[in-house]
Amino acid sequence: MRAYVETSGKGPTMSTEITVTVNGTAHTEAVEPRLLLAHFLRDVLDLTGTHVGCDTSQCGACTVHLNGEAVKSCTVFAVQANGAEVTTIEGLADGDTYSNVQQGFWDEHGLQCGFCTPGMIMTSEALLKQNPNPSEEEIRAGIAGNYCRCTGYQNIVNAIGAAAKAGK
């Protein structure tokens, strides 16, 4: 079901056609210019792994990779992603093989309720790409833009450390 289809009959909504490649598949869709990338992924493409945890760009639950860089997808309009490559949490594993970060989160108990987890993992991936061998302090600073209310971050830090080790 498309969430943004007009059915009330009270006039059309302006829409723009965009093409975004998400997890390797190109999607062409007509969207409202104000539609956020987070909602485009969730409600138009039905990729609900990207979560929305706030409305002020603070929580990081919506983090995805846009042309290889971690961005908060609630802070990007879908139209701004026109022509871009997006990777979401659903696109991270290679078949049944988890990425090192995903595996680290599982092995080290880096999640509890799991709501922050997709964004946290996407941020951690980007962090390790920039700095494959981060110190504890660098890990903590690197994920300071992502909130987790369950874990006290300790096992998230351990998970990223484990992923860094596995990546060597």
Partner: protein, 794 residues
């Protein structure tokens, strides 16, 4: 094929779906024809509604309907209170206000539209004409003469006056040797902030008249019951599903207005409807926690003996009574005022007060963090006053270790614990002597270093139903389980608890596996769908394993008894000689006479050869109601360093020794402790809900409310003692709240310790840079003034 054991750190079975983005939270529910809701909320703290104009909103693109409180007054009923107190005032609590709004965010109307964007657009088009009334937000101010009044039913805004105690405090302090130390202790209001906000999808079946609510809740069965009671919807036609739930911390433990409204609106518009709370909305519409203003006294002697504590508490209830609001600042607070100490005299008075703020209810720890903070702050304050080491004073007053019940001053029975053992172990890990030497050296270098100790004990494992009911509970607080072993020997269980991060799918399967010897991957754990299983109470108060796990354990014993009898029959052996271990029945001394539990399960369904009177099938249900609560306890130690020039507090070390009784999955218990401690540190150092006098919430978004991030914490050092709880058959106590309870007093005791040599004796939370910096300046100023006076006197 792995059979799990009790005490093993089994990796979580929930995680594969959650690390790949395949979890299913409420916002991930998509139904054909689904419309979206948005609420019009009060922009004032207190106002009469003169009129609501909805025509522009009704004509907006995508809008299907708009309902005001007046439109749905009959259908919506009033929100319930689940805990009674003597003389409790229960003002009506309409899900949509129709005459008066009493807090910022009180909902007055709801929009139904094709999309969430359109629904939110239309909110802006609703014109509400308010007559603004004077407001009051402070729980103490609200009881004073001339304060604005919220409810006719509650004169002076007092919802209840309650007291508890033991011994005779007034008499005890008449002793001329007794020193009384007084302090005003404020436990600031907090905003829970589970990372998933609340949300609900209501699906009305027009043909059958059934309603299904998908809701982000900790208590699906209670939501079903309460929804049915307030709306009159027959209970058998109400189904509540809690899918994956992204945290709760107590804030999803009530029947909320939006759940009722969504159900009723779905029936009105004959379409499924979805409401997802925005974060900014959550700040005003989801229950807050804490908010105590308290005059406290502690009394004792020069040698460190503590003889009692006295408390006069104004507990802010917010504008209405949330479901469990009357319970939190009363029993869960007052009964804990003895802490782990003898504390022979306790005098506690509590005034529950209505104010023009968001309703206040349980937040992680709920009443117990407030009590532990007060007790531990006052004990350290007392030690400082008499010039003794806080550890010496604590040790002198601690209860002796016990294994099976110890009645304390407030009349409750602690189950088991070795309180000094916790303290000793924590001190050993920490190396207290070395620290004090380091601290002296640091002070010489102009550095501010402090250590804080906090012990705690908490009432958990809610609850013996008869006790709870005698104290005011509106529902039984037992827990339930259903174990279904399939003909192939695989199992599906349904538990009455409802996890939101606690990992029940893993731990409950682990318990089944360890008892029945069935591999953990052959066990499916179902929860949170009221149509899938028997009634359950839910997940809160660190109760899931202590009560729910015990219910599961009992079902498993029934399965074991039946399969044992059947196996003995099939093996043609006297049951006395049939053993069961690792999933296999064997006849003692006869090597080849064995049957696996899978084979026996198959035979139970084949029913070709059952013992006399045995029914076919293999499915058992248990409802477990404990005889006593469970009482986790422990000692936490925290070190802070304070930057002189900025007042910035940094937590350098954190050591926690907890007694959770037996531990089923240490990895999960440690994880929960980390999270709890982090929330306690958050309260101590950064979090605070701030209202203006007229009821505007200044800390109303994640931009303004300082939620802790990863760079605020050191690696926590955890250890345990184990005193199995006699309150349940598996000897567990509960671990969900402990960290939060111990951490805020540990941190604040450390902050005050770091500044004690400057003359600082107390500081309210949160210890923000500004507050600490001011305290340092004031203390230095006072020292300068004292020196000047001394010089003048010479």
């Amino acid at each position: 094929m792995a059979v799990a054991t009790f005490g093993e750190s089994v990796k979580r079975t929930e995680d594969p779906r959650l690390i790949t983005g395949r979890g299913k939270y409420v916002d991930d529910v998509r139904l054909t024809g689904m419309a979206h809701l948005a609420f019009v909320r009060s922009t004032y703290g207190h106002a009469n509604i003169k009129s609501i104009k909805t025509s522009a909103a009704r004509n907006a693109p995508g809008v299907i309907a708009v309902f005001t409180g007046a439109d749905l007054q009959e259908e919506l009923g009033g929100l319930p209170v689940g805990w009674m107190l003597p003389d409790l005032k229960q003002p009506p609590h309409p899900p949509l206000a129709y005459e008066t709004v009493r807090y910022l965010g009180d909902a007055v109307a709801v929009i139904v539209a094709d999309s969430a964007y359109q629904a939110n657009d239309a909110v802006e088009l609703v014109e509400v004409d308010y007559e603004v009334l004077p407001a009051v937000v402070n729980g103490e101010e609200a009881t004073k003469d001339g304060a604005p009044q919220l409810h006719e039913e509650a004169p002076n805004n007092i919802g209840f006056d309650w007291e508890v105690g033991g011994g005779d405090y007034a008499e005890a302090i008449k002793d001329p040797d007794v020193i009384v130390v007084k302090e005003r202790i404020v436990n600031q209001r907090l905003i829970p902030n589970s990372m998933e906000t609340r949300g609900v999808v209501a699906d009305y079946d027009v043909g059958k008249g059934n309603i299904t609510l998908y809701t982000s809740t900790q208590i699906p069965h209670l939501v079903k019951l309460l929804f049915s009671l307030v709306t009159g919807w027959p209970e058998q036609k109400v189904r509540v599903i809690a899918p994956d739930v992204g945290g709760g911390f107590g804030s999803k433990l009530y029947l909320y207005a939006e759940e009722v409204v969504a159900g009723i609106v779905a029936r009105q518009v004959k379409r499924p409807v979805k409401w997802i709370e925005s974060r900014s909305e959550a700040y005003v519409s989801t229950a807050h926690g804490r908010d105590h203003i308290c005059d406290a006294e502690i009394a004792g002697k020069k040698d460190g003996e503590i003889i009692g504590i006295k408390v006069d508490l104004y507990a802010n209830l917010g504008a209405y009574l949330s479901t469990f609001a009357p319970l939190i600042p009363t029993y869960l607070f007052g009964l804990m005022l003895g802490g782990v100490y003898k504390m022979p005299n306790i005098d506690c008075k509590v005034h529950g007060v209505f104010t023009n703020t968001t309703p206040v209810d349980a937040y992680r720890g709920a009443g117990r963090p407030e009590a532990a903070y007060l007790v531990e702050r006052m004990v350290s304050r007392f030690a400082q006053e008499i010039g003794r080491d806080p550890i010496v004073v604590r040790r002198k007053n601690m209860l002796q270790a016990h294994k099976n019940g110890r009645e304390v001053t407030t009349g409750v029975m602690y189950d088991s614990g070795d309180y000094k053992g916790n303290l000793n172990k924590a001190l050993e890990i920490f190396d207290y002597k070395q620290f004090r030497a380091d601290q002296r050296a640091a002070r010489r270098d102009g550095k501010l270093l402090g250590v804080g100790i906090a012990t705690y004990i908490e009432i958990c494992g809610m609850a013996p139903s008869a006790v709870a009911s005698s104290l005011g509970a509106g529902a039984g607080l037992w827990e339930s389980s259903n174990v279904r072993v399939h003909p192939t020997g695989k199992a599906t269980i349904y538990i009455g608890t409802s996890p939101h991060g606690q990992g029940h799918e893993t731990t409950m399967a682990q318990l089944v596996s360890s008892e029945l010897g069935i591999p953990i991957e052959d066990i499916e754990v179902l929860h949170g769908d009221t149509d899938q299983g028997q009634f359950g109470t839910g997940t809160f108060g660190s109760r899931s394993l202590a009560v729910g796990g015990a219910a599961l354990f009992n079902s498993l014993q029934k399965v074991k008894a039946k399969t044992h009898r059947l196996a003995s029959h099939l093996l043609e052996a006297d049951p006395k000689f049939v053993t069961f271990s690792n999933g296999t029945f064997a006849v003692e001394d006869i090597a080849d006479k064995t049957l696996t539990i899978q084979e026996v399960a198959g035979q139970a369904y084949a029913a070709a050869n059952l013992p006399d009177g045995m029914e076919p099938g293999l499915e058992e249900v248990s409802f477990f109601d404990p005889q006593n609560f469970a009482w986790p306890n422990g000692t936490h130690i925290c070190v802070v360093e304070i930057e002189q020039d900025t007042g910035k507090v940094e937590v350098q070390r954190y050591v926690a020794v907890d007694d959770f009784g037996n531990v089923l999955n240490p990895m999960i218990v440690d994880g929960m402790t980390h999270g709890g401690v982090a929330q306690g540190i958050g309260q101590a150092l950064s979090e605070q809900a701030v209202y203006t006098d007229d009821g505007q919430l200044l800390s109303g978004s994640l931009m303004d409310y300082a939620l802790p991030s990863a760079d605020m914490f050191p690696m926590m050092e955890l250890d345990r003692t184990v005193s199995p709880s006699p309150s349940n058959p598996i000897g567990v106590k509960g671990a969900g709240e402990a960290g939060t309870i111990a951490a805020s007093p540990a941190v604040m005791n450390a902050v005050v310790d770091a500044l004690a040599h400057l003359g600082v004796k107390h500081m309210d939370m949160p210890a923000t840079s500004e507050k600490v910096w001011r305290a340092i300046q004031d203390a230095k100023e006072a020292q300068r003034a004292a020196r000047a006076t001394a010089r003048a006197a010479k």
